[in-house]
Subunit: 379 residues, 4 copies
Amino acid sequence: MSRRRTLSIALIGTKFMGRAHSNAWRQAPRFFDLPADVRMAVLCGRDAAATREAAAKLGWENAATDWRAVVDDARLDALDICTPNDLHAEIAIAAARAGKAIICEKPLARNLREALQMVGAVKSARVTNMLCHNYRRVPAIALARQMIERGEMGKRVYHFRARYAQDWIADENFPLVWRLQADKAGSGALGDLGAHIVDLARFLVGEIDSISALSSTFIKKRRSKPGGALRTVDVDDAFCAIGKFRNGALLNLEATRFARGRKNHLSFEINGSGGSIVFDLEKMNRLRFFDRRDRAHAHGFRDIIVTEPSHPYLENWWPPGHLLGYEHSVIHTVADFVCAVVSGKRVRPDFEDGFETQRVLDAIQRSGAQRGKPIRVSR
Amino acid sequence: MSRRRTLSIALIGTKFMGRAHSNAWRQAPRFFDLPADVRMAVLCGRDAAATREAAAKLGWENAATDWRAVVDDARLDALDICTPNDLHAEIAIAAARAGKAIICEKPLARNLREALQMVGAVKSARVTNMLCHNYRRVPAIALARQMIERGEMGKRVYHFRARYAQDWIADENFPLVWRLQADKAGSGALGDLGAHIVDLARFLVGEIDSISALSSTFIKKRRSKPGGALRTVDVDDAFCAIGKFRNGALLNLEATRFARGRKNHLSFEINGSGGSIVFDLEKMNRLRFFDRRDRAHAHGFRDIIVTEPSHPYLENWWPPGHLLGYEHSVIHTVADFVCAVVSGKRVRPDFEDGFETQRVLDAIQRSGAQRGKPIRVSR
Amino acid sequence: MSRRRTLSIALIGTKFMGRAHSNAWRQAPRFFDLPADVRMAVLCGRDAAATREAAAKLGWENAATDWRAVVDDARLDALDICTPNDLHAEIAIAAARAGKAIICEKPLARNLREALQMVGAVKSARVTNMLCHNYRRVPAIALARQMIERGEMGKRVYHFRARYAQDWIADENFPLVWRLQADKAGSGALGDLGAHIVDLARFLVGEIDSISALSSTFIKKRRSKPGGALRTVDVDDAFCAIGKFRNGALLNLEATRFARGRKNHLSFEINGSGGSIVFDLEKMNRLRFFDRRDRAHAHGFRDIIVTEPSHPYLENWWPPGHLLGYEHSVIHTVADFVCAVVSGKRVRPDFEDGFETQRVLDAIQRSGAQRGKPIRVSR
Amino acid sequence: MSRRRTLSIALIGTKFMGRAHSNAWRQAPRFFDLPADVRMAVLCGRDAAATREAAAKLGWENAATDWRAVVDDARLDALDICTPNDLHAEIAIAAARAGKAIICEKPLARNLREALQMVGAVKSARVTNMLCHNYRRVPAIALARQMIERGEMGKRVYHFRARYAQDWIADENFPLVWRLQADKAGSGALGDLGAHIVDLARFLVGEIDSISALSSTFIKKRRSKPGGALRTVDVDDAFCAIGKFRNGALLNLEATRFARGRKNHLSFEINGSGGSIVFDLEKMNRLRFFDRRDRAHAHGFRDIIVTEPSHPYLENWWPPGHLLGYEHSVIHTVADFVCAVVSGKRVRPDFEDGFETQRVLDAIQRSGAQRGKPIRVSR
């Protein structure tokens, strides 16, 4: 009988995503029957003292500051990349060359060129690769996908519209953090929020054929800190886009950081020939579903509480009606990544998905730069 | 003391809009202190017997079948046009020449040329003219406008997004009624539903500068009746559009008759620098409002039940919490029209508004025909 | 062929209920195919000038101030009683003796004794009699009843809980109007609000076997007008009650005028062996329904928009998704009353229903006076 | 400088609560700056193999089967009791005598006598003691308490109504598990669900003065397993209760396991002189709040998303709009327990709170047994 394998993990990044992924690595083995043991080997950050403290707090055995050394450490099996976007490509390519399995935070890259290089690297190295679009693994969204696959929405999809709205920079005095700088983030709402809804569009409906987009930077100058000099904001505050899917469905996307009162409002609606589905991340344990087959007098959107054992991922958690939170979607992602590393099978979304998503983001950006000119998302 | 005036009204059209406007003419004087008495003089329809029956049922003194004779009847003061769209221009122009005050159902016309002629006619004749975009007078929407004018949404508007979704033709066996024929309706979802949300965009945010749009006819052939021959559907089933307002806000519009479960779902959201407003016509007595000035720990969208005496039009109705319905918006429209006829003051939306709205509809149609090419809504 | 009958109606009362019923008499013939014509003959009020003015505004041919003369007028067929509660019994008994059909606002009477006399009078006189519990004819509530009758809630009912909450007297400076005086109103929240939910309990689930109740007068003294003397409030501000139905279901009722933010919040939930139903009058065009027979993964409360032609009363109104308001429930009531007067058949709720409801209100009042002592609603 | 203390914990129970508490012990140190280190020393269960497996999965160093040996283990500092209710008293009393700090799952005991003994034991031993009514530490509920304390609900409370509804035994074929047996569970919905809402009533409004209650066992016989013999169900399936608080507010409680579609529906509404608060555990990241001080035209219930850093416990978690789940309330409870053990200060709810709650449960049970006879919750 074969010995049970242990995967040694390194995570690069100690901020919001670093914390969320650390939690996922700690929790996944407690709730899921993973095919391997997980060893939280190294946390890697820029500042030595802060990283040591974070490693202790977050449950990592060791702390490191040199990601190249981490990548080259032969005792490690997998790398989890939670850095700002400008390091994704460099680290991922190095990790692929070092034969590591890779899970990378979204967006895959700052631009299409980087994305293409990353895909090339993981393909050449034949390493397991996954992009952390964790919302695919929110149970309600996973259920939506199942229902579409089973035909419960009918044979045709007519509309997919999604919106990701937040308000954390709506105040004009909010400082110019890295997420508002093009060299670090690549783009603004587009890569941060838009990447999620483009990924969901592809996950739930299919590939996108063409796109027209507008974008806007509402507050054009900000200070990097209170009292600092005013600097130009060179990323988008918001965009909206329309397009068509290859299957003929209409696409409507919008992302903004300027919607007062919307905290993490990723919402979508899909209209199919047989029904409709509505989701809102701020009510993430719910899925609303309209079924044309219901008896006529009792037609209506159902408000499904997605906490039943028969729902995706739920049999590992609590009894019905006991809600899950944001972090669970990351736990599910990590759990599936571990399975993929062990089985060697493709897991979605992977870097190729990230590249396809980046194509769409790129088209949105180019169309926006040309005031809405339609762009083919060519292949 | 001056004698109280009596306005004699003729209404052309006996179907859905004919019924709704008849009701408004009957009810307005019962609930509002109008500056004139209203005489429901003539109902005009195509079929003599059916029109006689409708006139009796709906409260009109006389029935007629020749709209030209009605227009020329010197005893009549005002004309209410509730016909299919292909007759709007001809009747309205004749009525203007005959010196009648005119209230006309939306959309103003089938195209920009007709709209321009109608504006010219009422301007030349200097007659009171109004377009029945009744949703402006849903109390919650009128309240939204008041709040924006008072500055409760802040100084800037960032986003306006509206969607008008229905599902009554989603079944592929639904017949090819007049609303699905270009010669009678001008367009499909665009003129029928899109006109409403374009009007609201202009009412709530301002004029539109440019637009990119896509449209689709999902079911390309239908039968005019069960067993009849298949004919091509030459109007749009749905469209989506993005654009910019002159004030810099982003615009996102969508209208469809293919959203299963959405019965009369006109919804919009406005994001301003000081707050956000959300509305859904299927919950038309509510307005949701987020106010950045609220204490931080109690931030949240308020669900305002718009039935207080201090809300627009409400002091004429029932106590707080007693809901109004669809038809009340038409009653409010008619009441304001009567005031305008008596005062001689401009009432909004008028034919010029209809023309401006038609410009936008025209731009959407042209952009859609060119697969999203950006169109300037020129002036 | 028999000549079509005309019913001549007199209405007593000119305030809120007088206005709502006048509207119903005007509107019912416009939307329903009634079996008789309706003549709005006389409006009767206390003040001659105000009543004349109201009659003109509300559409009545004549105005009167002496209700006895109205009752005795042989040209009148039916009487609609919209006075304060202290006149219900006297007028109804006189009207019954005069052979008039009677529709009376709720609550039937101030107390059980009066209610009994009223039932005796209409039974002796064999006149059509109806109690205006208009909420039975809110389409969503009528649909709930249909669904229960069809067995869609299963064979057994386990729970009925209803709450009627308002806040219009929550301010301690609100004056001592007639509805807060026992001699005129009989009781406070009990008769005004409680009567509605007791009627719905009986309508939807069945007769009540026993009851325990508590009541409270939160503000014990009020002024009849600003600056006036403080007087004791001798009616209840709120009550809550629990009990059992004869069929074994548990009952939970609450009514209050002290729930800030609740404007006209009549809500109920019914739990049966096969499903649950939830209703809220502040969203009166909706009915929420949980059906245990749904596929497990798609279980959830459906939000039915009760505006389809197949829903009760709806085929007489507007297309799907076009909402009805408060007043429509009164129109439906009057329409059904006219049918009953012509057919001679019993219409529900009638005075006997009012008496049964009064039994329950009486038990609640007696139990409340004894701090919750269980009371048998005996027969 | 003093050495940082380490608390060694033992947990008894391996099922739902054992899993939830194990998770809390693992997670609390990762997200909160606790004043001591936590050592997850021993997990104790009945079955040796299963407990060993659970200990490994849930993160405990050791497994044990003899709770008495665990209690007597001098190396352990604190005991977490997650057994069925019939063992609470025996274990807690032994643990107190052994000088252990104790956290115990609710309900404290099966009856008042046991509860009293438990209070006596912890008082004599002067050990830190806490009852795990974790819902007090759902951030939205903790926020509600803060808002009440700050006076945002006004000076008086008029109404508290709570309902805890589930449906997991509504099917008559559901087996007779321990929660449906009086000797093990003490009671049915009463102790399981009722204990939570009585605790919240006391937490949010104050002590209860008197109570009237009804209870029911809808399915009187069940099989312990499919094909087994029918046995009598000797606990309640549901109860409802009304009462008064010492401060004069009206109380209305209901708990049931027979509400189809309600999965974990703990909801409450509080009406104060200055506002109202509404909560629903199935939407646990939300608190609805009506503030009478809002401008009149913008009155309405606010839907607060309780995920801001300023909200209770939230600064330790994710950015705004990223939801928490059920388990977080247990983590918060454990974190506060650790603080209390180290500081030696009283933490609420403690065993005395449990005893007070048990008084109310006892009164409900006795009143229910006497068909609603009012019972004084005496002191």
